[in-house]
């Protein structure tokens, strides 16, 4: 029988069992790195550095995890905060330049592969919409969980997801009919 996240957290807390924590890292590394890759616009090295920082912060602060939310939600929140801190350091926490957005929407630049198009369309979304869509639609978080991760009202999350989806739908309109 495999241990639940809660069991592994308890082991990490009680026995300071680094093996238990490493199992948690193994379980969640893909989702956390995937989220950070989307947030950093596929800067793989930066995403992995931030993911590493997030897991180390999670280990140091594991006593503050009270089990009210899922461990993954708590972890995403730490990862998102790491990203924001880094972005603040780099002074890059601003929306996408609209002219850049228009230029990249040029249909001639569209790649024939759907995955490529989808990734490209995601990268074109403003940060707040991209983050909400990635958390809710890709990582499967509920709107409520996403609002906890992002520390914004539930209504704002819903709006961001809806707007992000609408933009994605428009960007991928050609694929939808196929």
């Amino acid at each position: 029988m495999s241990l639940t996240d809660a069991d592994l957290v308890a082991r990490t807390l009680l026995d300071e069992d680094q093996n238990a924590f490493s199992e948690l890292v193994r379980r969640h590394q893909s989702a956390v790195r995937g989220l950070l890759r989307q947030l950093t616009r596929c800067d793989l090295a930066l995403a992995d550095d931030l993911a590493q920082e997030a897991f180390i912060k999670a280990y140091k602060n594991i006593r503050s995890f009270r089990g009210e939310a899922k461990f993954s939600t708590w972890l995403y929140r730490i990862a998102y905060n790491c990203f924001r801190e880094d972005a603040r350091r780099r002074k890059e926490l601003v929306g996408i330049d609209e002219t850049q957005l228009e230029a990249e929407r040029d249909p001639q630049t569209v790649d024939p592969a759907l995955r490529h198009d989808l990734a490209q369309a995601l990268q074109l979304l403003p940060l707040h919409e991209r983050t909400a869509v990635v958390l809710c639609c890709q990582n499967g978080l509920s709107h409520d969980e996403a609002s906890r991760v992002l520390d914004i009202p539930l209504g704002t999350v819903k709006t961001n997801v809806l707007r992000g989806r609408e933009k994605l739908k428009k960007a991928l309109a050609a694929w939808e009919t196929n």
Binding site: F21, R37, A51, F55, I56, Q138
Partner: protein, 112 residues
């Protein structure tokens, strides 16, 4: 209209999830574990050892450089009947436990 919208969103959801491939660990977990701060359990052991060694050294120094009062107290202690010594030691242990317990209790309360 509603069904149409649901269908569209489902299509998008499916594509978005497909676009989220599993990222191979490739040594990531090992790197994280390597950078985790050292276990506090080890530092607790070290702290316990230091306390024990300090108490031992202090006892030896006290014994070697003790004046007549301390020496006579030691002689008196050794001359006491075993049962009295045991009661004395037991009372001391209870006293230390009570102090430790009350300190731990106040720490837990302040932590909430």
């Amino acid at each position: 209209m509603g069904d149409e919208l649901t269908e569209e969103l489902d299509w998008l959801d499916a594509k978005l999830r497909d676009d989220m491939p599993y990222i191979d660990d490739a040594g990531f977990t090992a790197n994280v574990v390597q950078k985790l701060p050292g276990s506090r359990r080890a530092s607790r052991k070290v702290r316990g050892f230091i306390l024990f060694a300090a108490a031992l050294v202090a006892s030896v120094i006290t014994f070697l450089f003790a004046g007549p009062t301390v020496m006579s107290a030691a002689v008196f202690l050794f001359a006491m009947p075993t049962s009295t010594v045991l009661i004395f030691a037991g009372s001391l242990i209870l006293l230390v436990m009570a102090i430790g317990g009350s300190l731990a209790f106040s720490r837990v309360r302040s932590g909430r």
